[in-house]
Amino acid sequence: MSIFDHRLIINSGKGGTGKTTISAALAVIAAARGLRVLLVELDTRDRFGPLFGVAPVGYEVRDLRPGIQAINLDPHLVMVDFFKTHVKVKRIYKQIVESRIWQYFYEAAPGLKELILMGKIWRLVGERSFFGGRPTYDCVIVDAPATGHGFSLLNVPQAAYETLFGPMKKNAEKIRDMVRDPKTTVLNIVTLPEEMPVNEAVELHRQARDTLKVAQGVLFMNAIYPPLLDPAEAKALEGLGPAGGPASGPSADGNERRARVAAAVGGEPALEALVRCARSREERAAMGERYSARIREEVPLPFVPVPFVFDADFDVGTLTAVARSLERAFGVPAPHAKRTAAP
């Protein structure tokens, strides 16, 4: 089962690992498979707009490009929405939302904000077109908050189910069932080849398995530096030797060679900077390999490496590059995906 067969795709991992970019790139390749995608971001300043090179996304579903729409779930606005659904009299919900007492309740009740957000996601996933009852979105991709908060978000329906009574308990149960339905929901983990992100990825994987009981899709190892030189090239570069060796004697030939290369690139400092920079790249690549090996051992999910993109700004160019490398990992898109083909 491909991750695109799930109607709800959730991406989580430590802050700064590139969840937003991965989410957007997944949307690009899902759309290329003919799926109608909704990208969801939560409680944040919009980042999908800049990434797709369009105006900022707010709390209203917006087209980013053909087949891809996005919404930015501001908890406060979701809450107003929530009241509209649950309180019939319009005048009253406004008064409630604006009352101090509600605001304090909202701050105090642990997980209430998350529960309301999950409720909104549940409704988006279940949304159907007016005629024919076809789901509005084939794929809802959620750029979930960083590990700890991401966990609370996914765990809140179960917690609420255990604590609450009345209609909210029923709601919580429905949302929990959606999260735990392996046909509907899949969780992907995004990480980087660094200590903390890898630790958190391992922890999230275990929590998802043991506590959340949510199906897990793939593990994205983001921003891996591809190796620069093959072993022979690396050896040749190191073979240039250190700067300022003796001008005569057994190694004089080598020194002369180094001097020629240095002259070609603009002098000894330039050559040294070149070599240092290459070495730095190789060390980063080695680190990528070390952490990849470690996480593959500890997290038995399909492993998708995503090469580092040398880009000054995170914009459409970055997105395209990442989408391309994901496309390679996921294989050629099917000409028409099954869910869109069905009436």
């Binding site: 630790n199 240039l240 290369v261 070609a264 680190m287 000054a312």
Partner: protein, 456 residues
């Protein structure tokens, strides 16, 4: 404020991080999540200990290996001294009188302590500590972790056991949340609001109630309907018992807030990454701190991509490498001269050409970082505060020697001098595996030499 405000460092003479580290009693490392606050905090505390101060770093959630290095694997909220023998064994010696201590913050423990301290009687304390809702709410209400952090800071500072406390702030999405949080918490516990919750809201009819009270009643009835009576009952009980603590909490929060404004004691160290969004956030945070009258010492930009070309000091500003970066023709020339230099060695040629390409890749990153950081740096320098850069290393920093090596970037003159003349003489550049990223001058003329390189 008090007379201490007058002792603020003047804008005329820039105050270095070195000076701040030697003179203040509290450093608050603040910034958005994921920028390396914990590492910077630990490095600063270690540096202070190496200068003969009794330093304590108060951290939230350190990487396991860093926690291991500091010897604070387990929670408990009690500070521990990092064994000086252990430090010496790793080649990191402290100056006489100096010591390094570390503490992992324990939010729940801090709250329990406060409850015990401010509860009217041991019985009230027990009722609170046993309340189901309290046990859940501690550490979950927005701001409780931040409140606990500033509370611990206040306690440690007041104890007189340390010359310097370095506080690693909790990982909030936005740096400013750290400051707003304690107030949010005390607002939340505000007695005038609590009374709504303890009001008997199932009064028949609601005669004799004001509009606000009637509204509150309506909301409570509605909440009850949605969430269930049991839930509200628990909440209600929690508020009833917690109300007695409000006065104590508030007074304490005010004292903490007073301490935070003492320019002679406290300095905020803004920690940022060079990413555009993060720097924008930091600039905003800096303005916000100033508006609130809180003392900003300066900023540390962490994981800045090394600028291997360096400044004019390396003489690469207009060499073949720089020229080839901006012109196709010059690139072909460079390739030709490399091929001519080692005509018999195709492997070396290919290694060199790949290295040149790699060099440009890194230059793009370095230039982008510089561009993003320029405004922040200019702002800080203009008001006489410090700005330091730590390069992105090839590997994570998690051991004591690694922390000690950061000193060079945080404190030494050569590494991050604002003066343009001295930066030319950075002979240090040859020793490090990463760039000297030397000058942090914003002039732009140094870097501008090859400024035509496309950064997009």
């Amino acid at each position: 404020m008090t007379s201490s405000a007058a002792r603020a460092p003047s804008a005329a003479g820039a105050e270095t991080l070195e000076a701040v580290l030697r003179t203040r009693g509290v450093l608050v490392c603040a910034g958005p999540g994921g920028v390396g606050k914990t590492t910077v905090s630990a490095a600063l505390a270690l540096a202070a200990a190496r200068r003969g101060r009794r330093a304590c770093v108060c951290t939230i959630d350190p990487a396991k290996r860093l926690a291991n290095s500091l010897g604070i694997e387990e929670l408990g909220g009690v500070e521990k001294e990092v064994d000086p023998g252990r430090l010496r064994a790793t080649g990191v010696g402290l100056a006489p009188g100096g010591s390094l201590h570390a503490l992992m913050l324990d939010t729940k423990g801090t709250f329990d302590y406060l409850v015990n301290r401010y509860a009217a009687s041991p019985d009230v304390a027990r009722r609170i500590l046993e309340n189901h809702f309290y046990r859940k709410i501690t550490g979950q209400v927005a701001g409780s972790q931040e409140y606990a952090a500033s509370e611990k800071l206040y306690e440690l500072h007041g104890s007189g056991r340390y010359d310097l406390i370095v506080l690693d702030t909790p990982p909030t999405k936005h740096a400013i949340d750290f400051l707003k949080a304690p107030k949010r918490l005390t607002d939340f516990l505000d007695g005038s609001v609590l009374q709504w919750f303890v009001m008997p809201y199932f009064k028949a009819g609601g005669f004799g109630l004001g509009i606000a009270q009637r509204m509150a009643q309506k909301v409570l009835e509605w909440l009850d309907e949605l969430f269930g009576l049991q839930f509200l009952k628990e909440l209600n009980e929690f508020f009833q018992v917690f109300q007695s603590l409000y006065g104590g909490f508030k007074e304490r929060a005010e004292k903490v807030s007073e301490l935070m404004r003492r320019r002679d004691i406290v300095a905020f160290v803004l920690v940022t990454s060079p990413a555009r969004d993060t720097v924008a956030e930091t600039v905003y945070f800096e303005q916000e701190l100033r508006t609130l009258g809180l003392p900003v010492g300066g900023a540390v930009a962490n994981r800045v991509h090394p600028d291997f070309l360096g400044e004019g000091g390396l003489g690469l500003g207009d060499g073949p490498l720089a020229r080839a970066a901006v012109s196709e023709g010059a690139l072909v020339d460079l390739q030709t001269s490399i091929a001519r230099a080692v005509p018999d060695d195709a492997v070396l040629q290919s290694a060199l050409l790949k290295s040149v390409e790699n060099f440009y890749d890194f230059e793009i990153l370095a230039r982008a970082d510089r561009e993003h950081l320029a405004d922040l740096e200019a702002r800080l320098r203009a008001s006489g505060r410090f700005f330091r850069e730590i390069p992105a290393f090839e590997r994570d920093v998690y051991d004591i020697p690694g922390l000690a090596r950061l000193e060079r970037w945080l404190l030494e003159d050569g590494a991050s001098s604002p003066s343009t003349t001295s930066s030319a003489s950075t002979s240090a550049s040859t020793s490090a595996s990463t760039s000297t990223s030397t000058s942090t001058s914003t002039k732009g003329d140094g870097r501008g030499a090859a400024g035509g390189v496309a950064t997009a």
